[in-house]
Symmetry: C2
Subunit: 236 residues, 2 copies
Amino acid sequence: MSCITHGVLLAITLYDLVDKDGRRYSPYGWRVRMALAHKGLDAAVELCWHSDKEKLSFSGQHLVPVLRDDDHVVSDSWKIACYLDDAYPDRPLLMKDEQSRSFAKFINGWTDTIIGRPLVRSLYLDILRSLHPDADPVEFRKRREERNGATLETLFANRTKDFEELNRELAPLNQLLRDQPFVTGATPAYPDYIVFGTLQMPRHLNRVDPLAASQDAVIRWREAMRGLFDGLADRA
Amino acid sequence: MSCITHGVLLAITLYDLVDKDGRRYSPYGWRVRMALAHKGLDAAVELCWHSDKEKLSFSGQHLVPVLRDDDHVVSDSWKIACYLDDAYPDRPLLMKDEQSRSFAKFINGWTDTIIGRPLVRSLYLDILRSLHPDADPVEFRKRREERNGATLETLFANRTKDFEELNRELAPLNQLLRDQPFVTGATPAYPDYIVFGTLQMPRHLNRVDPLAASQDAVIRWREAMRGLFDGLADRA
């Protein structure tokens, strides 16, 4: 058997990442899970290990999340969010117009390149140790060490510096959240789910909180995000 | 006389910064000038030198831009933009709803803290040399050297590193602008004017372009921004 299956009969199926302990820590998976909850859409779940080529071959690539909605197959969390709004425009929108989609797109790039990079780098060793037994730890290590020009152990030892970088880069988010409860205003929308998905990673992987006390507003917002949809984020 | 006056009889007066050569390089001044043009509002201009306490005392502080609209006095570019939309809701909006204002607010903080810091630091020496003869160069130098823990000459010598930082931080903006002509989508709005105001600074102060060739989309967008409102940005 190539993966763990929790499928039930629903039109939508989400293919999400799972580690050896059953934890679903993918930041992109979380973006889609929060997005589905925002729209009030149920989805069956198919859990896949890291780079599960066989299981995901139908999508033409090997990365989660993948969404299958009857005949439609969409991979990449950004494309999935756009698809959900386009396919279900009568349900609450993740991005309600062009400006709102521009906002989300900027936050998506900012979160992946600026916020996510130092954070994910600090977690590589934890991810390696938590890989599903059928995933390939040698390949995982090789790719990341090549990309970063350092061993995963060196990257882990550099964690304090990465946390400093992360906290420095979060300044504009903290500033915004001092004035309003959610990234998008009085209620959350897709930009909130994007940042939250990434900032949730350590909670599932090593429970080390990278946020400094100075991120008072981000910390308060994160608590509010954890409470959404009946505490979905804590039902990992 | 405490400043240079170009006033004509209009309801709105903008107090903006000027240097010894008549150049108006304030990034916050540019945000407001573009915002006024976006809304199709004319304004008389009162030019002030750096920290012109006497001229700006009516506003209860000493920083430009200040907008006076009949009885209303508003300082701080962010508050001015919000005021213009609130006071003139029938003219084209800078931020058309709550999400759009959240977007602009995030971009405002990001531009000031993340993009503006390395860029402005690299320009201090140029600003010092261009100060209006009635401004106080000793005070200008002292404040900035204390804040940065280095002489302005050292900061200038560090310019290459600051440019590298700036270009690294611009990555999410460049990514967004590869997919759409303006920050907010098909047409520009306040987030565009915020970033543009700051990125215009070197053009007025020293004509050294800090953008690397890799910022292809930002460079293209900057050209388009310069062409707006009959080339307003080049009529500095």
